[in-house]
């Protein structure tokens, strides 16, 4: 991993069109500004990892679950 030291107000350029700026350091956190093309997805690591884990977990089911789920959802709908 490339490790660089930056001060508030300084930045990093990645490739042709990504710019990362350290905005401020405050209370143990770092505020970072990111300029990137709109089609580039930018996510906080822990949010992304959580979704990834959840998707993985979501593949662990079997056909019997489908019927059970269907019944639960249907009963919810019928009560409305």
């Amino acid at each position: 991993m490339l490790v660089l030291t930056r001060k508030a107000g300084e930045g990093i350029i990645i490739g042709d069109d990504i710019k990362i700026t350290v905005i401020e350091l405050k209370g143990g956190g770092v505020r970072i500004g990111i300029d990137a093309p709109r089609e580039m997805k930018v996510h906080r690591q822990e949010v992304f990892d959580k979704i990834k884990r959840e998707n993985k977990e979501a593949t662990q089911w079997d056909i019997a679950d489908l019927n059970e789920l269907g019944m639960i959802l249907k009963s919810g709908r019928d009560k409305k």
Partner: protein, 147 residues
């Protein structure tokens, strides 16, 4: 028609009628083509099976069935990936999880947009949302009192 062996057995499908995730799902970026499987029993559920990995299948449902105020729409960039214009129909579905604890949850933090016109789908992560990836299903039955 073509056939694949899934972990649920043999599935026959029409290769011209696959659901395409141009970016895969999060964590499964390489899996692009899915077969849409209707649930055999009546209900708002269906599931999708990866054509390329027999182990990978997801249960999906329409979250607005029980979360009326759940409203997400694709932005311009996402519409482009789906191959649609802003006036084209775009449905929202959510991935359901059946964990070992059997406490079924629905992922409202990363919905899937589905464009019927192009048969394309895109999973997106909602940033700064109050919706959880493990939203419990609303309880519909009276819980027995625990006193």
């Amino acid at each position: 028609m073509k056939k694949i062996q899934s972990r649920f057995g043999e599935i026959e499908y029409d290769p011209s009628n696959l659901l395409l995730f141009p970016e895969g799902l999060i964590g499964f970026e390489d899996l692009r083509d899915f077969i849409v499987m209707p649930n055999e029993k009546a209900g708002p559920l269906f599931w999708i099976q990866s054509v390329d990995d027999p182990q990978i299948a997801f249960i999906l449902t329409d979250p607005t069935d029980f979360y009326f105020d759940y409203k997400v729409v694709p932005d311009g960039r996402e519409q482009q990936k789906l191959g649609i214009d802003k006036d084209d129909e775009c449905l929202v579905v959510s991935v359901m999880t059946v964990p070992p604890s059997r406490k079924i949850t629905i992922n409202l933090a990363a919905p899937i947009f589905f464009a019927p016109k192009t048969n394309r789908a895109l999973q997106v992560i909602l940033e700064g949302t109050q919706f959880s990836p493990q939203t419990p299903l609303p309880t519909v039955e009276e819980k027995p009192s625990e006193e």
